[in-house]
Symmetry: C2
Subunit: 98 residues, 2 copies
């Protein structure tokens, strides 16, 4: 079961006058399917936490935020710039000494 | 033009055995439509930057990251906890003095 590409393309066309390549439609569909997957899994966890057997709207509402949080934490772990940024921040703070 | 709710529900069912309420399906569709809107607008900007009249796959690829970045910046501006966090960090650093 996959997303109907023609419909997705038509929705996209509501927001742009440019042409849209087939590869671009494939790409957004891939992205949306991944989002449906992650959202459903997180929503299921939310529902189970409350002992429910049905996923409700409120289980979905927080999913995008949780996805965002997960991505930020991943980015934090991937970057090696944190110590540099902290030093830079301390430089700015201590420059008040001068 | 909106997303086909039955299809979206069927895709969700691939990832959970729980029941899914109609409101939950409505909620995820609303979220996905918003993502299609924002993604298309950012992709259009990316294509125009390169003087193209066609949105290509690579215009889509960076959109989710840009959406993420925008949301993080919004969160930063919304929170009033930054000064507290910075002080907390300085406390941790200076605790090395003891």
């Amino acid at each position: 079961m996959t997303l109907p590409k023609t419909t997705i393309k038509r929705i996209m066309k509501q927001y742009t006058n440019l042409n849209i390549s087939q590869e671009a439609v494939d790409e957004i569909c891939k992205m949306l399917e991944e989002i449906i997957k992650v959202t459903t899994e997180v929503a299921e966890k939310n529902a189970k936490k409350e002992g429910r057997k049905t996923i409700k709207a409120r289980d979905i509402k927080n999913c995008d935020d949780e996805r965002l949080k997960k991505r930020i934490l991943e980015l934090c772990e991937r970057t090696d710039k944190m110590p540099i940024l902290i030093k830079e921040m301390l430089n700015v703070i201590t420059s008040e000494l001068e």
